[in-house]
């Protein structure tokens, strides 16, 4: 308890020293929103040990030993395996925009968030407010909002259909640093885009990335989103994704967690309009004592929407996998179809899987279901393969790959699928 308190105080004091907690005359919109965020953070505090949302993942335990709030040190260049693929390539260093092509396709705007405050004041201000006040963010998101020096802004103009995916390579981070990136993606009405975020291994050491991403999907927009996280075995990651959809829009996200010591995906979706479609899929492979937690919330506030969720995990070597998925259907949000499925494989008796698939439903005319299974590889399937002369090791690998590919196959980019399948093969063969 004391340690937790002191951890919060550390952040608040550092903020005060750096920016000052009290409003000043010269403060711009950005700084004021930072101040609001730190106030919200101070009011909320880190999740208590008994907190339901963080029941199996006391994140503060992993923050404790990170040197906090130091200016990030130098970074080293990294190989970016996806950078050769056709598409628009953006690069960030320590969470800040480092490079973007000079010539962007029509309808795509890439800016820093601060400069977007000038060009798209309304969009950005609204987002800043929502995050700082904690309405579309949990406490880790507001913390990131308090400290992020700037952020990344991606805007797809109404009606624009991007021919190629936008790749964001979170290319480099200072090893062992504590960094808090921020991003806002806005898909205008009737627009269409595909955003792929890649976190390569990148000599990250025990870096702690606590990020907040806001996604606004306007009427009838279609946005696809993919996150591939492959940082090293000591890296920590709290991935706050807050999506708001307007009517008739389609949003899909796919979260591939293939690395890290601690990964907490906070995935929140509010289909705030009728006839929205939301797809969220995820695959995680937790190895070597890693702790991976997928927390998802689909909050149906409007009627006639559809959501589908599929999360799969392979947990081995004293690791822990957590799936906490919640589907909420508010009063009067009738005719909702919401499905959720979570499947995990535990490979050894030192590993753990905790699943908490929840339904919270206040409307009657709905169809909601969830299913969760946990177990080891199917004995009969193994036997089948072995009876055809396939050695046990290979047979296991085949089954594991098949299990994982269910999620990979949902990705529409062929090249990325190929890359992921190769990576999965390597990871699982180890």
């Amino acid at each position: 308890m004391t340690r937790q308190k002191s951890l919060e105080t550390t952040f608040i004091e550092a903020f005060d020293k750096d920016l000052g907690l009290l409003p000043s005359d010269d403060s711009d919109a950005w700084t004021s929103s930072q101040r609001q965020a730190i106030r919200t953070f101070a009011d909320t505090g880190f999740p208590r040990p008994k907190s339901e949302a963080y029941k199996y993942t006391p994140v503060t335990r992993w923050i404790g030993d990170t040197p906090l709030l130091q200016t990030p040190g130098p970074v080293s260049a990294t190989r970016l395996p996806l950078s050769e693929l056709p598409g628009v390539h953006l690069k960030t260093v320590n969470g800040q925009l480092a490079s973007a092509p000079e010539q962007l396709p029509e309808g795509l705007t890439v800016l820093t968030l601060r400069s977007a405050l000038e060009t798209h004041p309304e969009l950005v201000r609204q987002h800043l407010k929502r995050v700082s006040e904690g309405t579309s963010s949990d406490v880790f998101g507001t913390l990131a909002a308090a400290f992020a020096p700037d952020g990344l802004f991606i805007h797809i103009a109404p009606g624009a259909v991007l021919p190629e995916p936008v790749y964001i390579h979170h290319a480099a981070v200072s090893p062992d640093a504590f960094i808090q990136p921020r991003m806002l993606v806005v898909a205008g009405e009737n627009s269409e885009a595909h955003i792929v975020e890649h976190f390569p291994e990148a000599d990250a050491g025990s870096v702690f990335e606590n990020r907040i991403v806001g996604v606004d999907v306007a009427m009838r927009a279609r946005l696809k989103h993919l996150v591939v996280y492959e940082r090293g075995a000591r890296a920590r990651f709290v991935n706050g994704l807050y999506v708001e959809q307007k009517g008739e829009s389609v949003f899909s996200t796919n979260n591939m967690t293939l690395g890290g010591a601690l990964v907490r995906n906070n995935l929140h979706f509010v289909p705030d309009g009728e006839h929205c479609e939301t797809h969220l899929n995820g695959l995680y492979i937790a190895r070597g004592g890693a702790h991976v937690d997928n927390y998802t919330l689909v909050d149906h506030v409007k009627p006639n929407c559809f959501s589908n969720e599929l999360f799969k995990g392979i947990v081995e070597g004293g690791s822990t996998g957590v799936f906490n998925g919640k589907v909420m259907v508010r009063q009067d949000a009738q005719k909702i179809n919401a499905y959720q499925s979570s499947k995990s494989i535990v490979m050894d008796d030192r590993s753990h899987v905790y699943a908490k698939p929840e339904l919270e439903i206040y409307a009657d005319d709905v169809r909601c279901s969830h299913g969760a299974t946990t177990g080891e590889l199917d004995d009969e399937a193994l036997f089948y393969l072995r009876s055809r002369g396939i050695p046990e090791k290979t047979a296991r690998l085949i089954l594991l790959e098949a299990f994982a590919r269910d999620v990979v196959d949902l990705i529409s980019l062929k090249e990325v699928r190929t890359y992921l399948n190769t990576r999965l093969g390597q990871l699982l063969a180890d």
Binding site: A355, E358, A372
Partner: protein, 483 residues
């Protein structure tokens, strides 16, 4: 049409509201050491039990001071003033009767009103009924026949006097006095309850049942039940409840402990139909129950079946600790809420032994402005090789102002475990109603039919006579004031 009917269902009156006027003996209002001493002295308890109670009281008061109440449930509980409750109430006349003729006629009348003709049940069904009226056992029947088999079935107070060695050995062995807030309260002030011991290799020849009733205004009821099934024995235990209509909230914090030794089987069935509060959400019983069984020995089995239709607030998680290898735990539940009722109920299956199996089937039906939540834990410990669990939770919504929730917790620490959980939520199918109506079945009957079908697999698990009562109860609940 359908909404109207459902509304009426949801507003249905509580049919079992009446008060039996029996003189009673009450403890002063409030809770401190003297309350516990008063209860213990009243019941002429040995020193060790008093000490046990006092330790529980200490723990409870320390929690109360920290305001450390369980708050994780999906319930909106008005602050309960634990100092404004009288913790003991016993009917003054304590008849020790051999035959039912000597029982207070008013009591018989009460049971008749409840639709439980004791005499008839005794004769026809061959059920020994240990009637618990408020807190003290009033009459016990069929004792002789049970005695012949060596089965002990008596009130808790009697067991303390006559079989102290058994009570001492098992009391608190499954639900320790520090288990949780309400269990600690119960441990401190429990008034009476039932005690049951089935000796080695004995198959109990009849269903054992107890009817609990909360009768005295302003008294909490703190039952404590202890069931021990020795090696190779079998018992089916029934518990059913209805309570008179009251305006103020009544607190009920019971504890049930079950121990099943090697190859023993215990089947525990409950119908709970306490006063759910008025249509405006006023009054009603607060039901905070800790029920837990342990499959101590190899190949033992504990099965919980429950039909929950009453209480303003239900907080209840009948659990099984599967300690013995190859042991089996089962939980079958129907929870029906309407009006302003709130239920947060489910189970815990803790797999410790090897090749243990558990099955959870829960059906929730909510109407009116009620909130109905399933909350269940399946935990596979590291050593529980070959554990198997299947859980299914289905919810049905009868209105657009109610809530149906599912909060399963699956904690798996062993790779050989196979755990499956599935849940669905939907409303009464309009197509199904239409189909029935087409064939000349009224809408009311159609809904009854559908709900009955929804619950059928659970109700079928109840012992025969209970199943009939349960079906009637569900029908009455649905029917309400509608013809």
């Amino acid at each position: 049409m359908s909404t109207e009917y459902l509304q009426e269902v949801a507003n249905a009156d509580y049919k079992y509201g009446f008060v039996t006027e029996i003189e009673s003996d009450k403890a002063a209002i409030g809770l401190d050491e003297s309350t516990v001493r008063y209860i213990s002295a009243k019941k002429n308890e040995p020193e060790w039990l008093l000490e046990w109670r006092l330790k529980a009281l200490d723990y409870f008061l320390s929690l109360l001071e920290k305001n450390d109440k369980p708050e994780w449930a999906h319930l909106d509980i008005r602050d309960i003033d634990f100092q404004s409750i009288s913790y003991y109430s016993a009917p003054k006349k304590k008849p020790e009767l051999e035959s039912l003729d000597e029982v207070d006629p008013q009591l018989i009348d009460t049971f008749n009103k409840l639709g439980i003709p004791l005499m008839e049940q005794k004769r026809l069904a061959g059920v020994a009924v240990d009637v618990v009226m408020d807190s003290v056992s009033v009459t016990t029947t069929f004792k002789k026949e049970l005695n012949e088999k060596g089965i002990i079935f008596c009130s808790f107070g009697e067991a303390v006097q006559e079989h102290p060695e058994l009570v001492r050995k098992y009391l608190g062995s499954v639900v320790p006095r520090t288990d949780n807030f309400y269990a600690a309260l119960n441990s401190a002030v429990f008034s009476d309850g039932s005690f049951c011991y089935i000796p080695k290799g004995v198959r109990c020849p009849m269903e054992l049942s107890t009817y609990f009733r909360i009768n005295e205004a302003g008294t909490g009821q703190f039952e404590r039940t202890l069931i021990i099934a020795d090696e190779g024995s079998y018992v089916s235990y029934l518990e059913g409840c209805t309570a008179p209509m009251r305006d103020e909230n009544q607190l009920h914090a019971a504890v049930v402990e079950i121990v099943a030794h090697e190859e023993a089987e215990v089947k525990y069935s409950t119908i709970q139909n306490w006063y759910p509060g008025s249509a405006e959400g006023k009054g009603g019983v607060y039901n905070f129950v800790t029920k837990r069984g342990i499959c101590e020995g190899r190949r033992s089995k504990i099965s919980w079946t429950q039909l929950e239709t009453g209480s303003a607030i239900t907080w209840k998680y009948p659990s099984v600790i599967l300690k013995g290898d190859d042991s089996v735990g089962e939980f079958y539940s129907v929870a029906f809420t309407k009006g302003h009722q709130q239920a947060d109920t489910g189970t815990k299956m803790i797999h410790i032994g090897k090749n243990t199996t558990s099955t959870v089937i829960s059906k929730g039906i909510s109407g009116g402005k009620s909130q109905n939540a399933y909350r269940g834990l399946v935990k596979i410990n590291r050593g529980a090789t070959g554990a198997r669990n299947f859980s299914q939770c289905d919810s049905m919504l009868l209105g657009d102002r109610c809530g149906a929730h599912t909060f399963p917790y699956l904690e798996i620490n062993n790779p050989t475990a196979q755990v499956e959980h599935e849940a669905t939520t939907s409303k009464v199918g309009e197509d199904q109603i239409f189909y029935c109506q087409q064939r000349g079945i009224s809408e009311t009957d159609a809904i009854k039919l559908i709900v009955n079908g929804f619950c059928k697999e659970i109700l079928a698990k109840l012992p025969m006579e209970f199943a009939v009562e349960a079906r009637n109860l569900l029908a009455i609940e649905l029917e309400g004031s509608v013809g």
